[in-house]
Symmetry: D2
Subunit: 401 residues, 4 copies
């Protein structure tokens, strides 16, 4: 049974969930198993060890929580903070907005730093707030590494450096949902205290695991954090880690094997090569957008995202119509503009298990749709620009040299 079948492959270019590689689909194609047999803990042990590599941490403790990114957010906050705690959070798009909404509903005192959508987190304001906070009332700084709604990547190294400048002890909590395993992310080097992602993003699995990594300072904070938590309580995990059975409640056997296969593919390609591939595809996409004569929603190059590009359309075009036509005519799934930028941008997700020709097929499709909706694009222009770059920058596939 397939709803709305169309011939050929679906071209999946939303910024999540993303394409699952065939070896991962295969690995998950299995019956359930007893998660209390020796096999599942043995598998879990390798996962907990290996998943740290995608965070670039050796000191962090990972949790594979059966939840989504939203649940991962909640776990990061409730395990480390207490109701009423002051936190600084940056509102730069729909996903940072949703996280802030969650922070407020969880009872924190959220100091919201807003930017225009299309801009990154205003770190000057962060600096001034930290400078002023000699009493250390700010308990945490929360940053969305990559705002999926606008295609804006924030500079985490800079955040760390500002925190260090003011020797501020606030926790540094990072939403890496659309960045980790795709963009350069260095948990230990940047002193990130909690980082998190979801299995359906750059890891290229189905939805279902909220992957949270807590540094030593975050683990220490759990001892005093008074937020109510049960399902999301890291301590329940830690208790079972000690027992060597690992799971306080039933994990998805399929996702565990899928994660194993997914990590194996990432390590085979090499995490840095994975990141370089995303950089290449991001650059190619931006070159196409430029060739079409359209603007990137992201206002400055320093914030350009290598996992998603939000493309601004002229005022006489409804960007939702572009998304609708892609799906109806070309089996192409693009991302809608959300909230403030609804109707104004469409989004090309270029993260996860994706290669050059897949992207070029998408770009060709976008060109036809643009023409269709009345934008005077020169057919082939974006593809040509992307190809010119990719032809000179795509390495051979190592296993095939």
């Amino acid at each position: 049974m397939d709803y709305v079948y169309g011939p050929g492959r679906n071209h999946l270019f939303v910024p999540g969930p993303v394409n699952i590689p065939e070896p991962v689909i295969r690995a998950m194609n299995r019956n359930n198993e007893d998660y209390r047999s020796p096999a599942v803990p043995a598998l879990t042990k390798t996962l907990l060890e290996d998943v740290k590599e995608i965070f670039k941490t050796t000191t962090g403790t990972p949790f594979l929580i059966p939840t989504t990114g939203t649940g991962a957010w909640e776990s990061a906050l409730t395990n480390t903070l207490s109701p009423g705690d002051r936190i600084v959070s940056f509102l730069i798009g729909q996903f940072s907005l949703l996280w802030i909404d969650q922070q407020q509903r969880l009872g924190f005192n959220v100091d919201v730093v807003e930017s225009e959508w299309g801009q990154g987190a205003n770190l000057d304001i962060l600096a001034s707030k930290l400078a002023a906070d000699t009493a250390h009332t700010i308990k945490a700084v929360c940053v969305v590494h990559n705002e999926t709604a606008t295609g804006v990547t924030n500079n985490l190294a800079k955040v760390r450096s500002i925190l260090d400048d003011y020797r501020h002890p606030a926790l540094f909590l990072v939403d890496g949902v659309s960045s980790i395993c795709a963009l350069d992310f260095r948990m230990d080097e940047w002193g990130v205290d909690v980082a998190l992602t979801g299995s359906q993003k750059a890891l290229s699995l189905p939805t279902g695991i909220g992957i949270v990594c807590a540094g030593p300072k975050a683990l220490e904070a759990t001892k005093t954090a008074k937020s109510v938590r049960v399902f999301f309580d890291w301590n329940d995990y830690l208790k079972f880690y000690k027992l060597g059975t690992f799971w306080p409640y039933t994990p998805s056997i399929q996702l565990l094997y899928g994660l194993r296969a997914g990590l194996d593919l990432i390590f085979e390609e090499g995490l840095d090569n994975v990141i370089a591939r995303h950089a290449r595809l991001g650059k190619a996409t931006r070159l196409a957008v430029e060739a079409w004569g359209l603007k990137n929603c992201t206002q400055k190059e320093e914030w350009f995202s290598d996992t998603v590009t939000a493309v601004l359309v002229p005022p006489y075009i409804d960007s939702s119509e572009i998304v609708r036509r892609g799906w109806k005519r070309y089996n192409l799934s693009l991302g809608l503009g959300l909230n403030k930028v609804a109707g104004k941008v469409f989004r090309i997700g270029h993260l996860g298990n994706l290669n050059e020709l897949q992207l070029l097929g998408c770009l060709a499709g976008v060109e036809m749709i643009l023409k269709d909706v009345g934008y005077p694009v020169q057919l082939g222009s974006g593809v040509a620009a992307a190809c010119a770059y990719l032809q000179n920058n795509t390495p051979l596939i190592p296993s095939r040299i």
Copy 2:
């Protein structure tokens, strides 16, 4: 990659996660999809409508939450109650204990009614508590329909009748994790306000969906319930239900299609036939236990569970050794005894997509293991007792008549 491969099929007889039928495995064998395309809402709509049938409700509102049973518990409590609320809860085994632990950690004032493990909820005490509570300080009565640790099924109709006798307005919250879709369960008829299960139990899917169904009184209660909740907040779902997009955050595409296939199979077999099959397999298992000369952990017939049988072993045998040997020699997965009954019982789960010959293979295996660990069982005795019953009570498969 398979950890600890053994030839032939794994015989999965833990009381969850359970065997997934091949058509469901097939339905889930797929790439991700854009959950904002028209296809996923169209699919979701059928699921939300059809899933109500397994609760036997027409007035309830279902939520398919990306979580486990533990998360479903949390959602049932936090959406309907406020910190400090008095609730009556029955401690009769490991899973009711864990739910009570959660209730306490969530800040409720839990009035625990304890029974010996192997007995059902003490409903006389419930009656006296309700009788005494003329001020209606009791805000909820929480019952685990089927205690998976001891194989005890509680009488929910009786609970309702007691509540009615005293015209008590307390919410009636039911953990149906190892019952719904396997045991007789009637949400509307029994006036259950919230019922919940997990996808990996009788529905025979992978872990990953906490299926919660809220009756009108429970939905009304959300308006005053002050428990902090975000990820588990039903209102976020209801908002998206109204929009027709259904999902406040990313669902697992694979599980949605799996649930569709799973429900289709259940409806093809007929829910009442599914329940009758569980009754048949439960009865056959108990007859085998009796033939072996062993005792059921469940102390009275009125509590016998048709989804799991906890078998008491003589004091000179460690029941864990039985489980270990099953796995090591026969590729058989049995349930361990938990907590108070650790070492004293082993459990045979007989729920989900299972048939007579699968169960008989398991029973034959248990006989060999019992002999192996020094229990003087007569080989073939349990199988013979089960066969004598099954031969006379197994209907033809309707599609094959």
Copy 3:
């Protein structure tokens, strides 16, 4: 285990085996079954009935032989002809050459009509041979509908009309391996006596079923055909057709379910829409080739193939290098030039379950490779030409309107 893994999807553009749609992969994801139970004959019956539609025949009798196209060829010949029989066969490329080689090795007296590779069957010579053959020594005319090596489609209606002109009783045997279910093919209307294809071609399944359809005259011919045959003997099938068990030996359960799913998809799309889609993709490919300034190996428009395009490269380029680079750098699988055209052409297969954006991704890849090997292509030119056509000619996906 995957040999030579590369990130993202493989872009499969050889003219077979072709991309399998996900619903077909799912349908085949299953255990074996007893093929003598009532289920498999019931399934087979629907297949034998429905598969006739892709041949556009109501009078033909289909055989689903566990073999490849080569075996299907053999079955077509040995069931209808006797050693020494004179047959007319057209040598126009590698696959017609292989069929002729088989015909000769099977002991027929093959009257080979050769054309330059890139041209179609010389039907004038056929006409003169038939005209001269008043004694009816010619027992069969064998035509490859679509020569996969050169991308040449022969005019079968014309062949029939010539046979009719001379009232010649020769059997008309057609290799439809790379045509049936993709190109316009009309078994009954064109009086084709035996037609055949392979499951891994336009039907978009794995290799493993040789699908042969025999018209009444061909079935009649089996009675006198003296060629030795056992495995390929249609009579063994016919005997089991009568019994209603259908299979003289074990079929692949997986392929039967796969074929069911594959036919369902074709019928959902509509066979004529499938053929129109192939025409569209073929035309788009040829426009791209033209825009690149390259020549089609096929010398005249009347022979242009809508399932495969063989592209001639300039003498200073080795076409094998193009194929190699596609695979090594872009995870793109193109077809090599074979035999006489080895090194001179590369082939783009555009048949089976394929859509516009997949093809455009391939064309973009070819452009980059052409540039890479030193051909002065203007990047984007082929994609632009293809897009200009596709944008105006691609219908909405019916299920999504």
Copy 4:
């Protein structure tokens, strides 16, 4: 879509096709690939090397032909013999009968040595024929190692020793369809010239590969063998072996990966352990039959088959009814009696990827059915007898010790 769905697993106990292990199903769950890329030859190379181990040969040359066992038979005969050649063949059941029928239709002069069904090949007659044949008119001796219709295993070592006794140069051709990879088989030691099996038998794959292994004398014989052959011609394979591309026509990509996974599982378990497991399951089955008071169709212990047991039923019972009831009530697939023993025997296949508890489930089912059809079986008796043996003879699963 599933024809005649029934809850729980299908219990597949026909002597082929057999249960496919999950890792093999997973390995085959994939899209097509270009079989001319470097990946497929690399994979094929390992298969051709490793498949020799299941034949216990180092000197043989294997062919993985896209066909069934029937096709494998044809390839063994036509590649080594000429029409009119005298061959000695043993008629002992339905499958040897079918092979003899094929031999006759292929034009050989078949010297049929018939035994009563239930007896093995009459090797005394073989000895006398060879003794008399000083002119060496006998070109081949054809033996079905294990007659699947009657559960009779022939003594191949004895055949070799008789051939040696008379220093007779006849080729020794063996149908190992229901033996190789399950019974003790030693191609080199026993001087077998051609041996063959099918993928859907003990190798536990889907149908689709006829696996044929030719010894040096057989390869030499191809040079003079005049039988017409094209599709089944080994020389076409040998030509491509030399080229390193391996395939004269398109293989099933899925089956190649499946075979890789299947061989890996066999090697992990150890071929001799696989054979021992079959011996154990065969013995257990025969003990059950005895306990039921029924007779084995196989008349002497020396011929007992460890892959299939044909059970004789009393004259007042129609064995087909047993098979029908198994399928209709218990989702159990047993083998019918064929031809001469139709209605008189039912067959329990116990080959391939199968373990003890699966078999015991089947045996319990057979007991219930026997009672159902009026045979006075003592329920549990067969299972008890099998358990008594298995409990003492089943080793621990090595990976789990």
